[in-house]
Amino acid sequence: MNTTVRETDGRQTEPFVAPTASVLEDGDGYLLQVEMPGVNKEGLEISTEGNELTITGRRSLSTIDGTLLHHESRRDNFRRTFEIDPSIDVNKINAKIEQGLLTVTLPKAEHVKPRKIAVS
């Protein structure tokens, strides 16, 4: 379900829509995939504050010359905030965007990774 959030900075409000996201986990960390069609590196903003990760994606719209016959897409920009597990090493967060899909790698801090303990 999409939620629309109005962000106010006192001067203007910008409507946002929450992009679809999937979270995967393995022993080393988390993988966050966020779908933002129409967004490329220039329109992307990722920041962390405390234990929150906020992703903002602004679409680069190409206006098509013609009459709109059928309309399903939403033109709003994307924004979504995720709460990060404290075990994540914030300094090692890595992100790349390809064909409108943002992939964020969030590695867990070394000490929380599963380790085998040898029995002597």
């Binding site: 069609p37 967004v39 064909q99 409108g100």
Partner: protein, 153 residues
């Protein structure tokens, strides 16, 4: 199926009821054509239906689909008898046996079928896939383009 308005003779002289007959005509047209005529019914009930915008100008019909995170090779575009079909498959996002904590993204196949509003030249159709948006440009066939008709005399 038609909605038939009950015609009481005296009502037709009331001017305000013209608005109601427009509503009736509009509702009728909803039932006369297959629901959402440009779209294939299976689009409604299959899980993954990428958002589609359709445009038309004097030279082209343009279809725009939101398809983030696909590879060109996994997309199929075909034209048949005045309908455009776009389909593709997205393989499961977890490649290394990761455990999915929360999946909102659709996985699997999608298919959108669009009835085109004008005849197009199949040999000149082109498509681009950029930033997760697939744009298919279908140039109209010559006879489908609007033409000025001069009045003689």
């Amino acid at each position: 199926m038609n909605l038939i308005r009950y015609q009481a003779p005296e009502l037709s002289s009331w001017p305000t009821l013209n608005r109601w007959s427009n509503l009736r005509d509009e509702l009728n047209s909803l039932f006369d054509v297959p629901f959402l005529s440009n779209l294939n019914r299976q689009d409604l009930f299959s899980g993954w239906s990428p958002a589609l915008d359709l445009y038309q100008n004097s030279d082209n019909v343009v279809a725009v689909l939101e398809l983030p995170g696909m590879r060109k090779e996994d997309l199929e575009i075909s034209l048949h008898d005045g309908t455009l079909t776009i389909s593709g498959e997205r393989k499961s996002s977890s490649s290394n046996g990761e455990k999915a904590e929360r999946t909102e993204r659709y996985v699997g196949t999608f298919r959108r079928t669009i009835t085109l509003p004008a005849r197009v030249d199949a040999n000149k159709v082109s498509a681009t896939y950029r930033d997760g948006i697939l744009t298919v440009t279908l140039p109209k066939a010559e006879e489908a383009k609007p033409k000025r008709i001069d009045v003689a005399g």
